[in-house]
Each structure stands twice: as structure tokens, then as C-alpha cells.
């Protein structure tokens, strides 16, 4: 029962009571039919139920009215008054019904208006559904609920009031919006008009619309929030410019990139003030035309390629690279309304590119020659301007740092030399003068070789990344310097060793004339395996020539062993075969298939007879009367077998005879596709008149046939009996 109904009931009862009181007070009055006026008042004001209550009360009072109107009972007038009362009661009930209908109509319309006005801007779906059921209960029904979702998968969004004991007592109306089921409305204990299907249809339509709008607006809010979150979390800076070029949106990354403390500060700044914080140039360092900025181009309605800028922060001196891409956003009129700029900081990538290129160019330059004075100069020139404005390299000399390479003025500041000493002793790089200079050590794994200094390009400052790059550059230079030094040491060792393997001078032996030729192959560091020697023995003189299989330091060691074993054993024992057997044993003892070929010639002081023994070596050539023939007998090379059989061949030499010993480097010498060969050698020597003539002929023929460069060592020893 509502307050209105209660009030109407009270008014009705007062009206009825007033007429009863008048009827009682005035003994002559007979106005029982008027009692029903209260019911009519109650009906008009309060509706059918209040009218009915008052009508019942009024009718009862009219029936018992003879109590205060004596003598009235049973009269015709009394009966007539009762009929009039009954008729008035029907009138009261009818007006009540009418009043109810008007009230229902009014309530329904109010409800529809309220529902239609419900979706408040920014309200969430939860808030909207809660307000909807609040509207319905208790004004419209005892229970109302909203379920969301397509049929069969609905979830309760909100409910109010007491749910009916039997769920099927609730009236379920589906909610449809934009052609799809979005949920259902459940109503139970609705007021009389609630069961009007037409009204329910209209109501559910309105509710569906309200829910849909609330959902849509929530989706929009969610999308906007998500978009904001995405833009905030992007590493790339995003700004949006309007037609005037003013910034209307920026994310935090943009604020950071453009040097503003916050997004708000950035958006409040004058675009020119933002640009003035930096010196911007194009990628290659040439001046920037602002009209070429992608944002400007896009706002002017033109296509814009991504633009890479080199940007120098005037305050910090830090140089960075940015890539800007702009996309137009058309307005309702089709003209470009906004430009969305995505600005990517590509500094790390560009620095890495520059660093990689510098390091690889420097490495190539350093590898190009062992002369590190020249290569460091090249590296210094490569470092400018890729890394620095000036670059210099220093190496210690008698305890003092000495510049050995620098760009034109080296950027050497007064303090750099002192700092250099410090860096040399600590091996730690220093970033000097607010980042305008770097002094970095050049270190190998073991030690600091020297120091390099870099001074920054005007207006720029070095960063820690530049220090790392300087250190890496220093490491590569140090390695190159160390390698060059090691190489020159190695070359010196090799040259010294090789010199020790050759007889300084052939001895003077009465009755004999000697000459020799030695041409090592390749560089001096590459010690060859050919050796020869002439030394005195008990019986006379021994001439030996040998060739160790292989090259390099291991072969050099064998060469020394071969030469000195043959010399020692030859001088002591005096027999060529014993000397060769001795060397064979020594080689076998090594156990690594160390091989050597050798020929030994014993020349007696007291006899023209020479003994020749060959161990795997090309047979000596005898030039007698201008004609050439090989002499000696082939025996196995040294080091190949435990037991060797080397048989001496005796040869009686006559004055003028020339005996030529040589290594396979002579006959293996390559000329185009051909080899020099034994036959060509014999032809070369045909007609040779002396030891030196024989050697000269071979030298000249080899030079002509093969040129100066040879794959293998060449050794020739010529012995002439005078």
C-alpha cells in the first residue's frame, strides 16, 4: 500500500465519517446515501482498492444507520437509501479503477522516460544495471533482475527485491539490441499494468538500448584506456600534431626523447622551443630543412618517407639518432586533420653500425701490413669523424709516451700526456673534460702496449659506449702491434738461425776450387731445409749437401741436426757411410718420420780418388771436358728405415773436372706448367769450365726459367779439381 493510497483512504474515511457525524447530530436528517461520497473521494484519489475499503465501511454504516435514525429501519426510504448507496459504491469503484489506470499509465510513462534517460555518460555497465533494477523495484514490481549475454549463457548482472519462490512465476522478457540477444529482464510481483505485454515490450526495448549504450560506452572507455596504456608502454615516442603544428598528444617516451620533464610539460611547450633544444642534422650531417620533416609533409597533404635525423642535445652534448615516421589522420572534411608521428630512437643501432664499420675497417687496415706506424695512421684517419674529431696513438719509448700516429693536430690537450702515463700504468680508460676527450689503453691479454687519445667533435660529448668502442679499438691495435713485434722478432730469429745453418765461407783447400749458390724460398722467417758444408777430415776434406723434408721451424731444427751430425761424425770417423748411418740413427730416434736426403763426397789430400755416397739425394753431376754425367749410386733416404745400405762409389778425378752437388729445388723449379728437370740441368752444365762457371750457369738458367720467386730452397755446391 503506497502513501498515496493511505492518504486517499484517510480522506475517504474522513468524508464518510463527517456525513455520519452530521447524520447523528441532526435527528431530522436521513443522509445515509451520502456516506458513499467518501468512497468516491477515496476512489478518485487512491484507486480501486481504497475505494472498495471505504465503500464497504460506508455501506455497513448505511445499513446500521437506523441506530441513530430511529424508526427508519424497514421503511421504503431506508431501502431506497441502501440502493442509492450501492449504486454510489459502484460509481466509487469505477472511479477507483479509472484512477488506477491513469496512475499506471503515468507510472509506466515515467518509467520509460527514466529508463531512456538512464545511461549516464561514463557510467559502467554495473552502475547502469544497478540503477535499472532500482527503478523497477519497488515502484513497478516486487522483484526485477537483469541477465546479460545470449540465451543459454546468461549471467545475472543485477537484481532487486525478493525473488519468487518458484522461478517460473517471473515474467521473462528477452532483451534485444542491434539485432542480437543481449540478455533478459525478469519481473515478478509487478503492478497491475506490469503484465501488459505491449508495455513490457516497450520497456525491454528501452532497457536493451540503455544496456547496449552503456556497454558501448564502456567498450569505448576500455579501448581508449588500452590505447593510452599501449602508447605509454611503447618504446617509440608517439606525438600527434594538429593542423597548426601544435602537439595535441604525446606519450611519456616522446616527453623523454624531446627533453621534457613530463607529457604535460611537453604539450604546454612551444614547438619552436622544443626544436631549439637540439641541433638537428640529416643522417650524413648536412643541415636539415624543416619543411622536409615528415610531420610537416603529412600535414601539407604529401607523402612522407621515414626520416633519420642526427640530433645533438645542446645542453648535454649527447648525440643521438632518431627515425621519424608520420601518418596522416583525415578529418570529417577529408582534409588532413592530424599527423601522428612515431619517433624511434635508433641511436644504439646506428652507434653499433658505426662501431662495427670502424672496427672492421680498422682490423683490415691493421692486417694490411706489419708496419704498425703506417697502419695506426690509417686507423687514426678512420676514427675521424666516425668516432671522434681527432685521434692519436702513443707508444712508450724509454719510459716516455711518444706520438706515433695522429690526425692533423691530434687533439692533444696539455694534460693528455700526463693522463696517458696514468692510463698506461693502470690500463683503465678515462673520460676527460666533461666527455670531450677519451684516453684509452691499448691492451693485449697480457699488458698495456700504449695509449690512444680521442677528442670529441665540436659540440659533442663522448659517452660510455664511446669509451667501450675506444677500448675495443685499442685492443685491436695492441694485438696488431704485438703481432708485428713478434713477427719481426721471429723474422730475426729465423734469419739468425738460417745464417747459422750455412757455412759462413767455404774453406780454402789446396788443389781445389769451390763455389756455391743458396736461394731460400719464401720470406726470411720461413726457414728452409737445404744445407751444405765443406770441412776437413783425417783423410782430407768432406763436402756434404742435404735437404730436410718439410719447412718451417721443425725443419730448421732438423737442418741444424743434419748439418752438425754429418760434420761431427764426418770429421771424427772420416767415412761418409758411417757419417750417414749416424744421421740415420739420430733421425730414427726422433720417431716422427723425420726425413733427410744427403750426399757426401770425400776428397783425399793424397789421392785423386773421390768417394761419393748418396742417401735419397739427387746424384751429383760430373762435368768433364764439357760433358755432363751423373755419378754415384742411389741409396735410401735418411730416417726412413732402421737399417740403411749406402754404398760408396769411387771416382778418379782429373784436373778440370767439376763436380756439382745440388738439391731438388733446382730440378723442381717451376716455369709455367713445366719443371726445370734433370735434363735441362745437364744441358745447362754442358760446357761449364769451372766451379764458378757452373754455379753462374745454374743461377742464370733458373732465373730465366722460373724467375726470382721459388717454391723451394735451391742449393748448389760446385767442386773443381785444379
Amino acid at each position: 500500500v503506497t502513501a498515496e493510497q493511505r492518504r486517499a483512504l484517510v480522506y475517504g474515511l474522513i468524508v464518510t465519517a463527517s456525513f455520519v457525524t452530521i447524520d447523528i447530530a441532526l435527528s431530522s436528517s436521513r443522509i445515509a446515501a451520502s456516506y458513499m461520497l467518501g468512497a468516491i473521494v477515496a476512489g478518485v484519489l487512491g484507486g480501486f482498492r481504497t475505494a472498495a475499503i471505504v465503500a464497504v465501511v460506508a455501506l455497513v454504516l448505511a445499513v446500521i444507520s437506523p441506530i441513530w435514525n430511529p424508526g427508519d429501519l424497514g421503511t421504503q426510504a431506508y431501502v431506497a437509501r441502501l440502493f442509492v448507496s450501492a449504486a454510489a459504491a459502484l460509481l466509487a469503484l469505477g472511479s477507483g479503477r479509472l484512477s488506477d489506470q491513469v496512475a499506471d499509465q503515468l507510472a509506466s510513462e515515467q518509467m520509460l522516460v527514466a529508463v531512456a534517460e538512464l545511461p549516464a555518460p561514463g557510467a559502467t555497465l554495473e552502475q547502469t544495471t544497478a540503477r535499472l533494477v532500482d527503478l523497477l523495484v519497488p515502484r513497478y514490481a516486487r522483484f526485477a533482475a537483469l541477465d546479460g549475454g545470449p540465451a543459454g549463457e546468461q549471467v545475472r548482472l543485477a537484481s532487486r527485491g525478493t525473488a519468487p519462490a518458484d522461478p517460473s512465476d517471473a515474467i521473462v522478457t528477452p532483451l534485444r539490441a542491434r539485432g542480437r540477444d543481449i540478455g533478459a529482464l525478469l519481473i515478478s510481483g509487478g503492478r497491475s499494468g506490469a503484465n501488459d505485454p505491449e508495455f513490457l515490450r516497450v520497456l525491454s526495448g528501452r532497457i536493451a538500448l540503455a544496456l547496449d549504450n552503456a556497454g558501448l560506452s564502456q567498450e569505448l572507455i576500455t579501448v581508449e584506456q588500452q590505447l593510452q596504456a599501449i602508447l605509454e608502454n611503447l618504446g617509440e615516442a608517439v606525438t600527434v600534431q594538429d593542423r597548426s603544428g601544435r602537439l595535441v598528444f604525446a606519450n611519456s617516451a616522446a616527453a623523454g626523447l624531446l627533453g621534457a620533464g613530463s607529457v604535460e610539460e611537453l604539450l604546454a611547450s612551444d614547438p619552436r622551443a622544443i626544436a631549439d633544444r637540439f641541433t638537428s642534422t640529416t643522417e650524413d650531417g648536412s643541415p636539415l630543412d624543416p619543411a622536409r620533416l615528415p610531420g610537416r609533409l603529412v600535414l601539407a597533404g604529401r607523402e612522407a618517407e621515414p626520416l633519420v635525423l642526427r640530433v645533438l642535445d645542446k645542453q648535454t652534448g649527447e648525440e643521438r639518432w632518431r627515425m621519424t615516421k608520420s601518418t596522416p589522420v583525415p578529418g570529417p572534411d577529408g582534409e588532413v586533420m592530424l599527423a601522428v608521428n612515431v619517433i624511434e630512437d635508433i641511436t644504439d643501432r646506428k652507434r653499433a653500425e658505426v662501431a662495427q664499420r670502424l672496427l672492421s675497417d680498422a682490423t683490415a687496415a691493421l692486417a694490411s701490413s706489419p708496419d704498425y706506424h703506417a697502419t695506426l695512421q690509417r686507423v687514426a684517419e678512420l676514427a675521424v669523424p666516425a668516432l671522434a674529431g681527432e685521434c692519436a696513438f702513443y707508444l712508450p719509448n724509454s719510459g716516455l709516451l711518444e706520438p706515433i700516429a695522429a690526425t692533423h693536430n691530434g687533439g692533444v690537450s696539455a694534460g693528455a700526456a700526463v693522463t696517458g702515463e696514468e692510463v698506461l700504468s693502470t690500463g683503465e680508460a678515462l673520460l676527460l673534460h666533461d666527455g670531450s676527450a677519451i684516453v684509452a689503453p691499448m691492451t693485449t691479454d697480457e699488458r698495456t702496449v700504449g695509449v690512444l687519445t680521442l677528442s670529441s667533435r665540436p659540440g659533442t660529448r663522448f659517452t660510455e659506449a664511446d669509451v667501450d668502442l675506444a677500448l675495443e679499438l685499442g685492443r685491436r691495435c695492441a694485438t696488431a702491434i704485438e703481432n708485428a713485434r713478434l713477427y719481426s722478432q721471429l723474422e730475426e730469429v729465423a734469419t739468425t738461425l738460417q745464417r747459422s745453418l750455412l757455412p759462413p765461407d767455404l774453406p780454402k783447400v789446396p788443389g781445389w776450387s769451390f763455389d756455391s749458390l743458396y736461394m731460400p724460398a719464401g720470406s726470411e722467417a720461413d726457414v728452409g731445409g737445404d744445407f751444405y758444408d765443406v770441412f776437413p777430415t783425417a783423410a782430407g776434406f768432406m763436402a756434404v749437401m742435404g735437404d730436410v723434408v718439410g719447412r718451417g721451424p721443425a725443419a730448421a731444427a732438423l737442418t741444424a741436426m743434419g748439418r752438425y751430425t754429418l760434420r761431427t761424425a764426418g770429421s771424427l770417423v772420416g767415412t761418409p757411410t758411417m757419417a750417414l748411418a749416424r744421421l740415420n740413427d739420430n733421425l730414427r730416434e726422433r720417431g716422427d718420420m723425420a726425413l733427410c736426403t744427403a750426399v757426401v763426397v770425400l776428397l783425399r789430400a793424397d789421392s785423386p780418388e773421390a768417394s761419393i755416397v748418396c742417401a735419397g739425394h739427387p746424384l751429383p753431376l760430373l762435368v768433364r771436358g764439357g760433358r755432363v754425367q751423373p755419378v754415384g749410386r742411389i741409396g735410401p733416404l735418411l730416417g726412413a728405415f732402421e737399417q740403411g745400405h749406402w754404398l760408396p762409389v769411387s771416382l778418379e778425378l782429373v784436373p778440370g773436372d767439376v763436380l756439382v752437388l745440388y738439391t731438388d729445388g733446382v730440378i723442381d723449379a717451376r716455369g709455367g706448367e713445366l719443371r726445370f728437370g734433370e735434363e735441362r740441368l745437364q744441358q745447362t752444365l754442358t760446357g761449364a769450365t769451372s766451379a764458378s762457371d757452373a754455379v753462374d750457369r745454374i743461377r742464370a738458367a733458373l732465373l730465366e726459367f722460373a724467375g726470382a720467386e721459388q717454391d723451394d730452397d735451391v742449393a748448389v755446391l760446385a767442386l773443381q779439381k785444379l
Binding site: V549, G550, L595, T597, P636, L637, A640
Partner: protein
């Protein structure tokens, strides 16, 4: 018949083939200090334990003492591990190197590789 394998470097290459109980290794070109390791690599890779080795020198145009040393190494290894090494005679320039080194009478020679079984 086994599969063929070729390793090459410049104008030098080495073919190898498993045939019956033998690995036939056929270098082609000039054997010197620079190329001998290629033969060594092919043998290391292809040789199965106990398998005999036939070194076919017919396509070798030139050989210096590096080649001799490899042959002797291979023979020493064959004695230790119990397989046989045989050589197919090469051109005269190659045979001359074996001859001068006094090795020709001490090595097992074939005129051509054994037929496939």
C-alpha cells in the same frame, strides 16, 4: 663398391672410393707440401679400421719429398695397425722421385688398382 668422395683445393683434388676390402685414394695434380695434407685429411676421414689402402698415383703430375714422407708415414702406420698399403705406379716424373730416394725397391707396387669385387 663404396661411395666416391672428392676433396679439392686449387688444381689439386683427391678422390676416394671403398672397393672390396680396400680404400682407393686417387690424388690428381701435384703433390707437395701445400697439397699433401689434403690426401692425409681424406685418408683420416675415410679409412675404416683394418681396411687396406691403395694409393693410386697415375694422375699425379709431380711429387716432391713431402709425398715420400706421407707414403712412409702411411706404411709405418699400416705396420702398426695391421693393414696393407699398396701404390699404383705413377708417371715417370713421380717414379723418379721414389727411385732417387732409394725407396722404389722397398715399396709394394701395382700397375693398376685391384678390380672391384
Amino acid at each position: 663398391m663404396g661411395h666416391g668422395l672428392v676433396a679439392a683445393s686449387g688444381n689439386f683434388d683427391v678422390a676416394s672410393e671403398h672397393s672390396g676390402s680396400s680404400l682407393i685414394v686417387s690424388p690428381r695434380g701435384e703433390i707437395d707440401l701445400a697439397t699433401v695434407d689434403l690426401i692425409r685429411d681424406v685418408v683420416e676421414r675415410e679409412h675404416q679400421p683394418g681396411e687396406d689402402i691403395v694409393l693410386d698415383l697415375r694422375e699425379v703430375g709431380f711429387m716432391d719429398t713431402s709425398g715420400l714422407r706421407y707414403v712412409l708415414e702411411l706404411q709405418a702406420r699400416a705396420e702398426r695397425e695391421g693393414f696393407a698399403v699398396q701404390l699404383v705406379r705413377g708417371p715417370s716424373a713421380v717414379q723418379r722421385v721414389f727411385e732417387v730416394a732409394g725407396l722404389e725397391p722397398r715399396l709394394p707396387w701395382l700397375d693398376e688398382p685391384p678390380p672391384a669385387e
